[in-house]
C-alpha cells in the first residue's frame, strides 16, 4: 500500500479560454494553492471538447479528465457550453455504463473571476482520483494474455 500513497494521479484539464483558463490564471496570480496533478490544454470553448479527446486522454494513460467552461448563459459564443453539456453528459453516463469509474470524467463551470473555485475543483477532482487509483482501463498487458480468435501467439 505504501507505493499507492506515493502515486500521484495525472489529470488532464480542457479549459475554455474565456472563463476557466482565465480562472486558473487568477488562481495563480492570487496565490491560491491547488495540486500540480493537472496538465492544462487551452481550448477556445468547452464546446470544442470532442468526446474523442476524453477517450484519447484515457487511452494515453491520464487518470482523469476535467472539462471546464463558462457558466450556463455566459458562453462567449452564446451556446457552446450548452452543447458541451449535452455531449459530456452522454459521454459520462455511457462511460460509467461501460465500467469507467465516475471520478475519471469531471466537468465544472468556472468563470474568469472564480480563481478560488478553480483551485477547489482541481483539489476535489485530484482527491477523487487518488481514491479510485491509477487508470488501468487500457493497460496493454491484458491484450494477448488471453486466447483470442485466430490471433494466437501474436501481438
Amino acid at each position: 500500500m505504501k507505493q499507492e500513497s506515493e502515486w500521484e494521479p495525472k489529470l488532464l484539464g480542457f479549459l475554455c479560454r474565456w472563463c476557466s483558463y482565465a480562472g486558473a490564471d487568477l488562481a495563480g496570480t492570487s496565490r491560491k494553492k491547488y495540486p500540480a496533478n493537472i496538465r492544462i490544454i487551452k481550448v477556445p470553448c468547452s464546446g470544442r471538447v470532442d468526446s474523442l479527446f476524453i477517450l484519447k486522454a484515457l487511452r494515453l494513460g491520464f487518470d482523469g479528465v476535467l472539462v471546464s467552461g463558462c457558466h450556463p448563459g455566459d458562453c462567449h459564443y452564446q451556446t457552446g457550453n450548452y452543447r458541451a453539456r449535452r455531449r459530456i453528459a452522454i459521454t459520462k453516463r455511457f462511460l460509467e455504463y461501460l465500467g469507467v469509474e465516475p471520478q475519471r470524467l469531471q466537468a465544472s463551470w468556472v468563470s474568469a473571476s472564480e480563481g478560488g473555485k478553480f483551485s477547489e475543483v482541481v483539489t476535489d477532482v485530484t482527491q477523487g482520483l487518488k481514491e479510485v487509483g491509477p487508470n488501468q482501463l487500457f493497460e496493454r498487458k491484458k491484450n494477448g494474455a488471453k486466447a483470442k480468435a485466430g490471433s494466437k501467439g501474436t501481438a
Binding site: 459521454t91 455504463y97 461501460l98 465500467g99
Partner: protein
C-alpha cells in the same frame, strides 16, 4: 400486402414519380431477403414482405441521387425521419411505402431453440403470436417473444408515422421490454470492473470489418474518425482498446440518431453484442433529454438543440 406493394412500386416508376425503388427481394439462401435497389419497373415483381426483411433500407438513401420510393418498416421510417432532421435527405424526394411491421424473426434464436442450423430447417411460418418451425418433418411452435430480434421486442413504432402509402392495417406496439432488455440488465448486475472486462473480452475478437458502421443509416460521415491519419486517433489494427474506443465514439456520434434498429448487432460476423451498447445510449438520451430519435421530422437533432437547464447534476 405484397401485391399492393408491387402495384404501387410499379406505378410510381411508370408514372415517373420516383427514379428509384428500394425494397426487399428474396435472398439467395433460405429465410433471407436482400435489398432491391432498382430503376426498372419490371423488378417491382420481385418485391417481398415477409418475417425476414432484416435490413434497414434507410442506409441506402444517402448514396442514391434522385427521388426514391422506399419500403419502410417502423424502424426504417424512424431512420428516414432522422436523416431528414439532419438534412441528409429531403422529404419531398421520398415516397415512403409503409409496412406495419409485426417484428422480424431472429434465425440465431431459432437455431438455439431447436438446436439445428438454419440450413437444416424445412420451414418457418408465423401465425399471429406464434411461430412454427418445421424440422425433420416435425412442427415446433414458439411464442414470438422467444424468436423475434431483441430490438423488435422493444419496438415503439411498428407502423411508420411518416409515410405516403400504407400497406395494410396499422399495428400498435406490443413491447416485451423484459426479454429485450435482458442482456443489458445482466451487464448492469456486474461490478464496473467486471463490465469493463466483459467489453474487453467482447471487443477482442473485432476484426474491424466496419460492417456495424457501414450498415448503420445514422453513420453517414464522409470520413470516419477511426480512419483519420492526421491526427491518428486510433490505430487501424484491431487492438481491443482501439476497437472499444471506436465503438464508444460511434455510439456517441449516433446518439439521438440511432433508432435501435439492431442492424449493427445482427451483421457482426464475430457476434459482438453491439445492441447492448446502442440500446443503452438510446435509453440514456431518452432519460436525460426526453429525446426519441426519428419520431418528429421537424424536431431539431439532439446535439443541435439544448435547454437552459438540463443534465446539470454532475457539473461542479
Amino acid at each position: 400486402m405484397e401485391q399492393k406493394l408491387r402495384q404501387e412500386a410499379k406505378a410510381l416508376l411508370e408514372q415517373g414519380k420516383v427514379d428509384w425503388i428500394i425494397g426487399f427481394a428474396p435472398g439467395s439462401l433460405k429465410f433471407t431477403t436482400t435489398p432491391l435497389i432498382t430503376q426498372d419497373k419490371d423488378d417491382a415483381e420481385q418485391l417481398v414482405i415477409n418475417p425476414f426483411i432484416t435490413n434497414n433500407l434507410a442506409n441506402f438513401l444517402t448514396e442514391i441521387k434522385g427521388r426514391v420510393g422506399i419500403v419502410a418498416k417502423g424502424c426504417e421510417s424512424r431512420s428516414i425521419v432522422s436523416l431528414i432532421q439532419d438534412n441528409k435527405v429531403a422529404r419531398e424526394n421520398l415516397v415512403i411505402l409503409a409496412v406495419p411491421c409485426p417484428g422480424i424473426i431472429d434465425l440465431a434464436k431459432i437455431e438455439r431453440l431447436v438446436g439445428k442450423d438454419r440450413d437444416e430447417l424445412d420451414d418457418i411460418t408465423r401465425d399471429g403470436d406464434r411461430v412454427s418451425v418445421k424440422v425433420d418433418g416435425k412442427k415446433k411452435e414458439f411464442p414470438i417473444a422467444q424468436v423475434l430480434f431483441d430490438h423488435c421486442l422493444a419496438c415503439e413504432l411498428p407502423t411508420p408515422q411518416e409515410y405516403d402509402i400504407i400497406l395494410g392495417e396499422p399495428r400498435l406496439p406490443a413491447p416485451e421490454l423484459k426479454v429485450s432488455g435482458q442482456s443489458i440488465a445482466s451487464l448492469k448486475e456486474m461490478t464496473p470492473a467486471e463490465r469493463w472486462a466483459s467489453w474487453e473480452n467482447e471487443l477482442s475478437r473485432c476484426i474491424r470489418c466496419y460492417a456495424c458502421r457501414n450498415v448503420c443509416p445514422a453513420c453517414f460521415c464522409q470520413r470516419c474518425f477511426v480512419e483519420e491519419t492526421e491526427p491518428q486517433w486510433t490505430l487501424p489494427m484491431p487492438h481491443w482498446q482501439d476497437n472499444l474506443i471506436f465503438q464508444i465514439i460511434r455510439n456517441i456520434h449516433v446518439a439521438g440518431r440511432c433508432t435501435d434498429c439492431g442492424e449493427c448487432e445482427r451483421v457482426c460476423p464475430v457476434n459482438i453484442p453491439l445492441r447492448s451498447l446502442t440500446r443503452e445510449m438510446y435509453d440514456i438520451v431518452g432519460e436525460l433529454f426526453q429525446f426519441k430519435s426519428g419520431m418528429d421530422k421537424d424536431a431539431l437533432p439532439l446535439m443541435v438543440h439544448y435547454e437552459q437547464e438540463e443534465a446539470e447534476d454532475f457539473f461542479r
